[in-house]
């Protein structure tokens, strides 16, 4: 196709927007609402993933060492645990350190009572560690349990299982919501533009008779849909930004209330600006262009 023809088709696309003002406005509104909903579903999904990730990071595994294990053996055990790829932040919490911490937390009366009856330090040496991939927590703790000198391994496996299930369900629900919204938007857009395409069916029919290719007929509609999609995504982006920043300010302002669940730790809008902008523009242009093009298909079969 020649550049002059392409320019002509682009001009026709822009003319179409103006000629079908009402339809254009209807498509714009539908796209705007859809994009805001899809955008929020994705933003909530990303942030929930982060919040769950934070909770996971905080879940700690405690490895209790047997009483009769020598200091050298404890050091060997530490090396063995460190070598497991799924382990991070391994720290030895010695029995002396544990006793000191316990004593510090006691009142003077409690301390006297304790020292009166307990001669030897009754606390064990323990390792505290974090698990990188919570889905492999059971395998990792079982492996540690087989090491010589390990008395027991205490891990929040039930909590981990709940988190894993929650994350999986949430991921599926988020994907389903986004797909459903995109599909619904495509259907509504193609139906909205169907009326304007129907009004131009004569034009399309004549184009077919004089030898226009399907792409030649589709390009102006495609451009029309894409421009409307880009305009809608620009507005949706602004609305999302202000709404998200409002929610962000509330969640980050009260640590006591939201910090417990790690909700204060969500991403700031600015940190997601580039991917969110690109996603909105691409989604808007895609849904607008494809939705509009679908409507032309029926009239091309001449």
């Amino acid at each position: 196709m020649k550049i002059s023809s392409f320019n002509y088709l682009i001009r026709q696309g822009f003319k179409g927007i103006w000629k079908n003002k009402m339809m254009t406005f209807a498509s714009f509104c539908i796209l705007l609402v859809s994009l805001i909903m899809v955008g929020f579903a994705i933003l909530v999904s990303i942030n929930l993933d982060k919040v769950i990730g934070n909770i996971e990071e905080k879940s700690e595994v405690v490895v209790v060492v047997k009483d009769d294990v020598s200091k050298d053996s404890i050091s060997d055990l530490q090396t063995k645990i460190e070598d497991i790829p799924n382990v991070s932040d391994l720290r030895l919490y010695s029995r002396d350190e544990a006793l000191k911490d316990m004593m510090d937390k006691m009142t003077e009366a409690q301390r006297d009572y304790f020292l009166k009856y307990v001669e030897d330090n009754p606390l064990p040496d323990v390792f505290r560690l974090k698990i990188k991939d919570i889905q492999k927590m059971n395998d990792t703790t079982a492996q540690i349990g087989t090491f010589e000198g390990v008395e027991s391994v205490q891990s929040p496996t039930e909590f981990a299982d709940i988190l894993i299930s929650f994350r999986r369900i949430f991921f599926i629900v988020a994907i389903a919501i986004v797909l459903a919204l995109v599909l619904v938007s495509l259907i509504i857009i193609s139906n909205t533009t169907r009326a304007s395409v129907f009004a131009r069916r004569k034009e399309i029919n004549i184009m077919k008779y004089v030898g226009a290719t399907n792409s030649f007929i589709r390009i102006p509609f495609f451009i029309e849909g894409m421009v409307v999609g880009l305009l809608a995504s620009g507005c949706a982006l602004l609305i999302t930004k202000f709404a998200y920043e409002g929610v962000y300010n509330i969640l980050t302002s009260d640590y006591k209330l939201f910090g417990v669940f790690g909700l204060n730790n969500i991403y700031s809008f600015d940190s997601m600006l580039l991917p969110v902008t690109v996603s909105y523009l691409v989604a808007g242009a895609f849904i607008g262009a494809i939705g509009t093009s679908i409507s032309t298909g029926k009239h091309l079969k001449v």
Binding site: M1, S5, V210
Partner: protein
């Protein structure tokens, strides 16, 4: 050149629209296709434009074997054919100039060629002064002349005129056929479907009479205008 070899068309409703039709229209011919409603005239045109496919037989148009022609290549076939419809089918939001130029844009013609060719064709049909008018501002006869100019602008090998005089005053009908005759004299093949027997008798020439899906009569007769 248009050639039908044993062409039959049966629609999905079971109606036999054409029955083993054999027909040859050579380059440069002018032929009237006549016949009553439902005789198969529209089916004949639809076959030539590859709007429909023959149930059996072969259709050859301007070097294209339509049985073998893929959907993707249909625009190439249609670019060799100009079509004039009874209801003009002009785009109401475009001026006379734009309605005609639009055909050349479709075939990706250079802008410079469009700027010189379109005014020339408009002058051929005598509408130079109406180039900036919209179809709704023109009479029926003028609209049909625009449609004729549109069919002519990309210099097609064949022009199909489907009842081109059906929606215009009788006296203007002669003018339209005169224009078609003039185009034919320049070498373009013309196939004109009509109901108007007076017009056919007046101009004469090759007459193809279709009835009940078969060709009843295909001969050259002298016109009364020759007397």
């Amino acid at each position: 050149m248009v050639e039908f070899r044993d062409v039959s068309v049966t629609y999905s409703s079971g109606v036999d629209a054409l029955n083993k039709v054999n027909l040859k229209i050579n380059d440069g011919d002018f032929a009237f296709v006549v016949g009553p409603s439902g005789a198969g005239k529209s089916t004949l045109i639809k076959l030539i434009l590859k709007e429909i496919d023959a149930s059996t037989g072969t259709v050859l148009v301007n070097g294209f074997n339509l049985r073998k022609l893929r959907r993707k290549k249909v625009p190439a076939l249609r670019r060799t054919i100009g079509v004039v419809f009874q209801d003009f089918r002009l785009i109401p939001t475009m001026t006379v100039y734009e309605n005609i130029a639009f055909v050349l844009r479709v075939i990706d013609a250079p802008a410079k060629y469009i700027r010189s060719r379109v005014p020339y064709v408009i002058s051929l049909v005598g509408l130079s002064k109406k180039a900036k008018s919209y179809p709704t501002e023109l009479s029926g006869g003028e609209q049909q002349r625009v449609a004729l100019a549109r069919a002519l602008v990309n210099d097609p090998q064949l022009i199909i005129a489907d009842e081109p005089t059906g929606n215009i005053d009788p006296e203007l009908s002669y003018e339209i056929v005169e224009l078609l005759k003039g185009i034919n004299e320049c070498g373009t093949t013309i196939l004109m479907v009509t109901h108007e027997h007076d017009l056919v008798r007046y101009f004469g020439g090759r007459i193809i009479n279709i009835n009940k899906g078969s060709i009843q009569f295909d001969e050259v007769i002298g016109g009364s205008n020759e007397n």
